[in-house]
Symmetry: C2
């Protein structure tokens, strides 16, 4: 009798909860993804985590729970241009007094005159030259300080906030949710690894050793008895497209079981992660919200999403629709 009484009581509580519109996992442990609407996207994520953490055929040992995240456009804003490009432009302006010849030399002349069209037309060669001038020629410690100082001062042209505040609140929750379920979260970005490491731990909870990115070469030198690494104007690795699985293999040495991207640059990372036999999660952030953030895909200059969007349908990757799936975009909207 007593047992039956508790069963009835439990059923009543459950019924009341369901009638209030709570889902069962929410009731059981609090919603770990409160900024996500209750859509099939959220369900796909929660279901995946449930399957690989529960004893059974799909179980994945904690050590193998590797999740990789692109950065630009997946964790933080990449419009109207990549943050690192804004950094490079600002650095050209800051360094210009030391280089009077830049007034008459491309691509610097365009940068100083604010002529983005000509700058972009200078193509890869011009952009690489600009990156090298602004990213090399100092020690790693010096560069880290330059990045930190710049990020503290720079403001996004539309949102008028530091870039480190323009990270996606639902993705922050996703990072925490995965870590709470035994995942090790990594950034795998086409951006410069030393441009990210000074702040990823504070902003995303991702320590430097879990950040993989593009890099230039460095050279070890003893300077006045102190060991330094000097940054050279020479590309070391481009962590984009086919480079992402290569970077993952070099930096992690295991295949991820979940990967999150937002552009064609993430296609091969998603393939490498999901086409491997087990239960895997591949997801693409689709920028569909011009009002709260930006709306772009196949024709965007930054973060173009074309082939990877078509591949998502074929491979059953989860497409995260910012407008439909996210209650808020940025952390400051919560207040």
């Amino acid at each position: 009798m007593k047992r039956k009484f508790f069963d009835v009581l439990a059923g009543a509580v459950l019924g009341a909860a369901l009638s209030l519109g709570w889902s069962l996992p929410t009731l059981a442990q609090g919603d770990p993804l409160p900024s996500w609407n209750d859509t099939p996207t959220k369900q796909a994520i929660v279901e995946f985590v449930g399957r690989i953490t529960k004893a059974g055929p799909d179980f994945v040992a904690p050590a193998e729970r590797i999740a990789t995240f692109d950065n630009d456009g997946t964790l933080w804003v990449e419009q109207p241009m990549y943050v690192q490009m804004d950094f490079a432009l600002d650095r050209v302006k800051a360094l210009a007094p030391l280089h009077p010849e830049w007034k008459y030399t491309e691509p610097f002349q365009s940068v100083l005159e604010g002529d983005m069209k000509t700058l972009i037309e200078s193509g890869e060669r011009g952009l690489v030259e600009m990156i090298m001038v602004t990213h090399a020629g100092m020690t790693t410690d010096e560069f880290s300080k330059i990045v930190t100082d710049w990020l503290a001062a720079a403001r996004h042209p539309r949102f008028k906030r530091p870039y480190t505040e323009l990270v996606y609140q639902p993705m922050l929750e996703l990072l925490s949710y995965l870590r709470a379920n035994g995942f090790k979260t990594f950034i795998v970005s086409g951006g410069g690894v030393e441009f990210m490491r000074p702040w990823t731990e504070k902003v995303y909870g991702i320590p430097p050793e879990q950040v993989i990115g593009s890099s230039i070469k460095t050279k070890f030198q003893m300077r006045d008895g102190s060991p330094t690494l000097f940054r050279l104007p020479d590309i070391n690795f481009i962590d984009d497209k086919t480079g992402k699985p290569v970077g993952i293999n070099e930096g992690i040495g295991r295949r991820p079981i979940a990967a999150f991207g937002n552009s064609d640059g993430d296609l091969e990372m998603l393939q490498w992660t999901t086409i491997s036999g087990g239960v895997r999660l591949g997801a693409i952030v689709h920028h569909t919200d011009a009002e709260r953030e930006y709306a772009y895909d196949k024709k965007s200059h930054f973060g173009r999403l074309d082939v990877a969007l078509d591949a998502a349908a074929v491979n059953r990757w989860t497409v995260i629709d910012m407008k439909k799936d996210w209650k808020v975009i940025f952390p400051f909207e919560k207040h």
Copy 2:
């Protein structure tokens, strides 16, 4: 009165303990380094850990507690030749039936005839050619299996045991001790990263993502609908000498606070780690025990310790004297 009684009792126990030759930390928490003799070397390690974990001016936050370890000669045996070299020689023999021309082509002819002298005289070019032929031309998954299978079958010529049993018991204890004190332990080896990753977690408790080493280039390819990384006969990175700080910066992105090596190849890693202002630990395993292991330093072909040994005195690095400091060398000696 009661309080005093306990003080007296505690003093008596303490006195008894000290008279038995136990040191205080040992009594308090069990000896985490039981295979180390109670020498100044052990004291230097324990004192360092005590200082950086205790609140005070030398405290280091857990996130910054990075310790790096060389592998060959620091964690496992590297005589009479590097294990990976034995692997390469065996692979040449295994692949020889597919390459009849090797009977008349150096460096393969020397390998097949067991003529190590001529092989070594073929110099870097010959050795690189041998490494490329044996380490490239397959996928990363295939190579991992080749390494695992070889390690299961190969035996050390003197100790007649699998190489993975020829790891240093005191260093295993040191790895555990550091991890128990909040350290993240990394391997930073001149050896091939994909030669180490298949077994470091099992043997050292160091997961693949905490292994940094030399590498060849890989190429992402879709093969019959499956994503693969194909190993190319092209050097990507040499993680030795000045390459070690470069590899640490690329793979970890923080400066270690403790580093352990055994040869001149570790000099720059030790400089990078210890010459940085705070309390740091640099240590060198000195192979001084011909009876239980090997005795070699300035003139050895493998693991030469010359400049770094002189630098140890100047920089106050701890020199671990295998013969004096270690009660046992290998785990199997405990039984």
